[in-house]
């Protein structure tokens, strides 16, 4: 991935570290994460809940609630400009205009006491005031496939179905033509059929609007159609990274393998659903060595004795495990 010319790179995250300070001490939610997203590309960031993927996503525009969150180092370079150190004024120009978000729970992420049309128009007013008209709102709602858009614009969020709420969130996020759309578990709260519709919508829009997408999910099953590349996170670190197709067909890291096995598949009869033994480690008290070793099926004595392996890279793939080198 370093072989590509840097002009193509939209966003480069270098050694990002975010900690939370709780009663039990410092929790390193994101602990040295690096990746980049090129223009028009979709990167999927995958991992179980609590692995730090959502915090990484929020950190891209400094949205991590603080306190208890704190940025402990690293850089988030958007077109070469560091988001973590820029002025609040500059940050606001980026939020919603260059990078915008859709979140997991559309029901609570929309403001319950304002009409959805107003909430979309507000996004336009902030960054493209000349376009803040009812017509543009209706056009955006139609773009995301909401029927009877002019009338739906006057609805309050609770009057819409979950799928429609998420479409409104997407319309709001796209209002100002962002270069990067961060979709944080966009379908987790929705029914399976609606999930599919939303993912198809995202794929269509991506092609139509030529934007990059950072897709955050715990479900490796949904990344295949959408993602160009996949990064797998575990306990605040990236453990495997590579092109979507090869990573999904030939996972290297034992954790990635386990995640893939745990995807339920339609039609796969008589096959027991596999779960990963053990639980996500409590980030407040981490083990020594490889963070995954307590749950790893291939665990060796060296896994806990030696320092944590680094992310080794070859042929565009990277993995943080010395026993499964690509």
């Amino acid at each position: 991935m370093t072989t590509n010319s840097p002009t193509e790179v939209l966003l480069r995250v270098i050694d990002l570290r975010v900690s939370f300070f709780t009663d039990e001490g410092e929790v390193r939610a994101v602990d040295g994460v690096s990746f980049e997203i090129r223009r028009g590309e979709t990167l999927a960031l995958v991992g179980e809940s609590g692995c730090g993927k959502s915090v990484t996503a929020l950190a891209l525009t400094r949205l991590v609630p603080s306190p208890p969150g704190q940025y402990r180092g690293g850089q988030v370079l958007l077109d070469g400009e560091d988001v973590l150190t820029m002025s609040k004024q500059r940050l606001r120009e980026i939020r919603g205009a260059r990078i915008s978000y859709i979140f997991q729970e559309p029901a609570t992420s929309l403001n319950p006491v304002f009409r959805v049309g107003f909430q979309i128009k507000e996004a336009l007013q902030l960054h493209r005031p000349e376009l803040a008209t009812d017509d543009e709102v209706v056009r955006l709602l139609e773009l995301v496939g909401i029927p009877d858009a002019a009338q739906r614009a006057r609805a309050y969020p609770h009057q819409l179905s979950g799928g429609q709420q998420q479409r409104v969130m997407i319309a709001m996020a796209l209002a100002c033509h962002p270069a990067l759309l961060v979709a944080d578990e966009p379908t987790t709260a929705l029914d399976v059929t609606i999930q599919k519709q939303i993912l198809e919508l995202l794929r269509d829009l991506k092609q139509k609007l030529q934007m990059s997408i950072l897709l955050i999910t715990h479900n490796l099953g949904i990344v295949g159609d959408l993602a160009d590349r996949v990064a797998v996170m575990y306990a605040g670190r990236i453990v495997e990274h590579g092109p979507a197709r090869t990573l999904l067909t030939r996972p290297l890291h034992p954790y990635t393998q386990a995640l893939l096995k745990s995807i339920p598949r339609l039609g796969a009869q008589r096959e027991r659903l596999v779960s990963i033994p053990g639980v996500v480690p409590n980030p407040a008290r981490l083990t020594t060595g490889c963070k995954f070793h307590p749950r790893c099926p291939l665990v060796q004595p060296a896994c806990s004795a030696e320092p944590e392996p680094s992310l080794e890279e070859r042929d565009g793939r990277a993995v943080r495990c010395p026993y499964v080198m690509p």
């Binding site: 009663d23 053990g278 639980v279 480690p281 409590n282 307590p294």
Partner: protein
């Protein structure tokens, strides 16, 4: 990696212990409780031996004495020691705080449990009942009860107790509505456990923290109300309470005798402050969502 099974109470206690302010407040409360107990002892000793207790001993030669070593908080218009009266006031304050809770909390728990558990007509009736009680302006209602029942400690406690159960009752009702369809309740019902046993043996322990929080937050309210009642003349009769001291001090203040007011005010301030802060910490430790729950459930 699994965390040891710690009960709600133990985790809450651990969190409280880390909170230094809460621990200081608990210390203050314990100190006041000790003072109140001592005062109770003094009161009964002199009452049973039929003597005039020291806090009532009149000395006309020593009226309005400024604070000194012999009388650290000075003396009042009859030459009685202010500090000894403040100590007796602590006794009254604790009696009011505890007795009103003993009246209000059982009403709130029983009615809230019945309304939330049975729903339908029982619920309609109890909601109507507490809406009615809630509609009658607090202090006036308390005053009316205290007057009808008769001035004094009993009237004050009945007045405060019978009027302040509504808030807790609402919370308990809400919790019972949440719990009545939980699996464990359905399981108990399937086993043939009687409704009353389900309500008070199975569900009640799950909402008990609300009672504890309510107790620690209503205590300061009761103390402040007692002061107002005493000022209005329906409070405790014949014994020194903080309210009586403050209202007595009204005219003396204008003559420049500030110590009676200062003593009672300071004594009351610290215990109310300690209860307020400790109650907050307790609530945060036991149920952080509760802070705005009362407002949100409406």
């Amino acid at each position: 990696m699994s965390t040891p099974a710690t009960s709600l109470w133990r985790t809450a206690w651990q969190q409280l212990r880390r909170n230094r302010l809460a621990m200081v407040c608990l210390g203050v409360i314990a100190f006041y409780a000790l003072v109140a107990l001592t005062a109770e002892g003094i009161y009964w000793y002199y009452r049973l031996t039929d003597q005039t207790p020291p806090y009532k001993q009149v000395n006309f030669d020593n009226r309005f004495a400024k604070p000194s070593l012999r009388h650290p908080l000075g003396t009042d218009s009859l030459g009685r020691d202010v500090l000894l009266q403040v100590i007796q006031g602590t006794r009254i304050a604790f009696e009011v705080g505890i007795l009103t809770s003993l009246i209000a909390i059982p009403i709130a728990v029983v009615l809230g449990a019945l309304a939330g558990y049975y729903g339908r007509r029982v619920d309609d009736f109890i909601v109507w009942l507490y809406t009615v009680f809630d509609s009658i302006p607090g202090l006036l209602f308390i005053l009316a009860i205290a007057i009808v029942v008769g001035k004094g400690l009993l009237g004050v406690c009945l007045g405060i107790g019978l009027t302040t159960w509504v808030g807790l009752c609402r919370l308990i009702r809400g919790e019972y509505i949440k719990h009545r369809d939980r699996q464990y309740v359905l399981a108990a019902r399937a086993l043939g456990v009687k409704n009353f046993a389900i309500m008070f043996r199975h569900i009640l322990p799950n909402v008990l923290h609300l009672v504890i929080i309510s107790f620690s937050l209503r205590f300061p309210g009761a103390i402040l109300t007692e002061v107002v009642l005493s000022y209005l003349g329906v409070g405790v009769q014949g014994e020194p309470s903080w309210g009586i001291m403050i209202s007595d001090a009204k005219l003396r203040l204008w003559q420049g005798h500030w110590w009676e007011l200062a003593g009672a005010t300071a004594a009351m301030f610290f215990i109310v402050l300690a209860f307020n802060l400790f109650g907050d910490a307790l609530r945060d430790a036991l149920d952080p969502k509760l802070r705005t729950a009362e407002a949100k459930t409406a």
